[in-house]
Symmetry: C2
Subunit: 229 residues, 2 copies
């Protein structure tokens, strides 16, 4: 059976950077499932699997085709119940949506402001045009205007992770003694920033930095394999 993860890349397909795709790389490894990753540029996504989805990740698992990172995680949990759990039960499933909400409403916008120009610069010419148009419309500013406040955003970033520092007083991972999909949600966001912007946002002894390093080591260091920008 062929299992394919379509992910996102710029000009260099050895540096996939999408936060949502990284969640699924870790989730597949967590479940011990083999897969082939096919990094795809932005403008190539609409052609994947006969136009199945406007966004990646897309997972092909034999005859199954699934889109959206959370839906893929739910699918993996249901399809492979005997493998290590991604949620730790129904409560964990429900509350992982909260971690997703935290990451996407508070952390992603800050990372976008830090990394958007760096992401642009990683893309091929055709993707740069698409990316600039769509992101400038969304942000209401030029990429260069956003990038002008990058250092201020970098300085303000660590404070946004206070809820994670709180949890790390009690446990090694967001998921408890070991990682769950909730860890991969936030890991995906920080990995996205690491690969695109390489911004130094934490002090070395910041508990969030220590947790992130721990996540980079998971599953044979699959996250560390792609170096920081």
């Amino acid at each position: 059976m062929t299992r394919i993860l379509y992910s996102l890349c710029g000009a260099d397909d050895s540096r996939p950077f999408s936060p949502h795709c990284w969640k699924i790389v870790l989730a597949l490894r967590h479940k011990g499932l083999d897969f082939i990753e096919k990094p795809t540029p932005f403008t190539g996504i609409p052609q994947l699997e006969n136009g199945f989805s406007k966004t990646v990740p897309i997972l092909r698992d034999g005859n199954e085709l699934i889109r959206d990172s959370f839906d893929i995680a739910l699918y993996l949990e249901e399809a492979y119940p005997d493998r290590p759990t991604l949620f730790g039960g129904e409560g964990g499933k429900a509350l992982s949506r909260f971690v997703e909400g935290f990451s996407q409403t508070l952390i992603h916008p800050a990372i976008t402001r830090i990394a958007v120009k760096s992401i642009h610069d990683m893309l091929e010419e055709k993707d740069r045009i698409y990316f600039r148009e769509s992101r400038e419309a969304r942000l209401g500013r030029t990429l260069e205007e956003v990038d002008a406040s990058r250092q201020a955003e970098v300085g303000a970033f660590a404070a946004r992770l206070e809820p994670i520092r709180h949890i790390l007083k009690y446990q090694e991972f967001i998921g408890g003694d070991g990682p769950l999909f909730a860890d991969y949600i936030l890991f995906g966001a920080l990995q996205w920033m690491r690969i695109t912007a390489g911004a130094r946002v934490f002090g070395d002894d910041d508990p969030v930095a220590v947790w992130f390093e721990r996540c980079l080591d998971l599953h044979d260091g699959v996250g560390r394999r792609v170096t920081a920008a």
Copy 2:
């Protein structure tokens, strides 16, 4: 067997307002457990149960004595496993700490800035002296200085709940189809503000306001029983 919840009140002991104690009122009702609530003023807490704890909630459950809202919830889950679950499994237990972190590091400080003067005004004279000294030391400003920016804080409050709006797109409660302790954590914070400051922070059709009203109705409307300030 006598089950006693020591909670917190001001001059009027029919208006207990502590966020942490409200979490446990809902948790006990969730488990279907009878209890007597004994609201206690700030300066009375050190005398409770032979000086067992500097803070409430304190739960006496027969011969057991437990402090700290999260520890009490964990105790209830373990002691009454056949009653409805507060966590929905180990994953839910771990991730509830994240909801606690979100509530205590991002929401509680904002509510403090909105409600601190109102809380002071609800207290008896002896407690006012303790409260003013301890809170002004913690906040680095007089209560009146903090209160001067109340309206600005009220206006900025709703935006802080974006992660909750995200989750409510997918489910009725933070815990999923029904409430879990995670709901009671955030409910406790908003109930604290409702009873002390009565601030109108949400539009009526804000999904967070709809969820909060839903929580006020839970368990025979135990939360609604105490009216808004």
